[in-house]
Amino acid sequence: MSQFDLSKLPQGRKGFMHDWGSDQRAFKGVPWGKAMMWIFLLSDTFIFSCFLISLMTARASTTVEWPYPSEVFGLTVFGTSVPLLLIAIMTFVLITSSGTMAIAVKYGYEKNRKLCGWFLLATAIGGLTFVGMQAFEWSKLIFHDGVRPWGNPFGAEQFGAFFFMITGFHGTHVSIGVIFLFIFSRKVFRGDFDTGRRGYFTSMKSDYEAIEILGLYWHFVDLVWVFIFAFFYLW
């Protein structure tokens, strides 16, 4: 029931004035759930920002040497030590899953049930791989290198604490995303979004816009990783 055409509305700065001065919706053409996800992500951005700001503060104010991440996270392959190898692969995997997610969203809007479902599933598997590699990295750090939240052999105490806390919080986000990706891919294959089947908990009708909302979340997780990669691993 769209009575108005978005492209006919003024654009840019004028559009901004128009939308905020209008009735009913400030975000024209943005469904409720998507607007809600955006605002949630804004709030979540503040959480991650506070984590990273705390990391920066601790790191800049400690008088003890901060461990050099490229060595700590290096892997030895065929006798040569490659810095940050695992992290590079993890980044690769996460970006790949972000790409498949973007395509899944595209097919979601085209109501292409099969392709949308397969790409969602691919994304979920990418996310799962990422979490698995993170688990490997954690266990290597804990059991092999002896890094603990309360101390580590390389230098400043906060190194381990911030590492586990920030990557843990990010990993939790990824894991939640993976769970939802699996659920949603099942829903897509079952055709919930075509039939508008009602949700088990919310008893609201399913709609393909849910795929885009999940997509926003997934891309955000990727976005956060970009910052963690820069501030924790490369700094």
Binding site: W20, A60, T63, I95, A102, K106, F229
Partner: protein, 110 residues
């Protein structure tokens, strides 16, 4: 609701996503190379932050479709970052001050 209209707004050729996907790899590779080649100092910082912002911008603009959204929502999402910016600036100054007093007054490196 509104599905007919949304399709025209949000559906893009698959090539766009593949392009961005490729670019993200390239920039990730560059920032990885900064570490591999072992640049240090200001060059390292500015390169890392530059690549980080480019990647973040691409993800937000294309993957999250912010480029196609109206200004009404884009502004709402970006302006609050100034508060984060102020917070970062203050904490940079604060941690340098803490570091300075610690270096000055305490036995360091014992």
């Amino acid at each position: 609701m509104e599905t007919d209209k949304k399709q025209e707004v949000h559906t893009h050729k698959i090539g766009v996503y593949l392009w961005i996907w490729g670019l993200l790899f390239v920039f990730s590779f560059f920032s990885y190379m900064v570490d591999y080649i072992n640049y240090q100092g200001l060059l390292r910082w500015s390169l890392i932050i530059f690549f980080m912002l480019v990647k973040a911008g691409l993800i937000m603009a294309i993957f999250m479709h912010l480029y196609w959204e109206r200004w009404a929502i884009v502004n709402v999402l970006l302006w609050p970052m100034t508060a984060i910016g102020v917070f970062v600036a203050i904490m940079v100054s604060e941690s340098q001050y803490t570091f300075f007093t610690r270096m000055f007054y305490f036995v360091v490196g014992s």
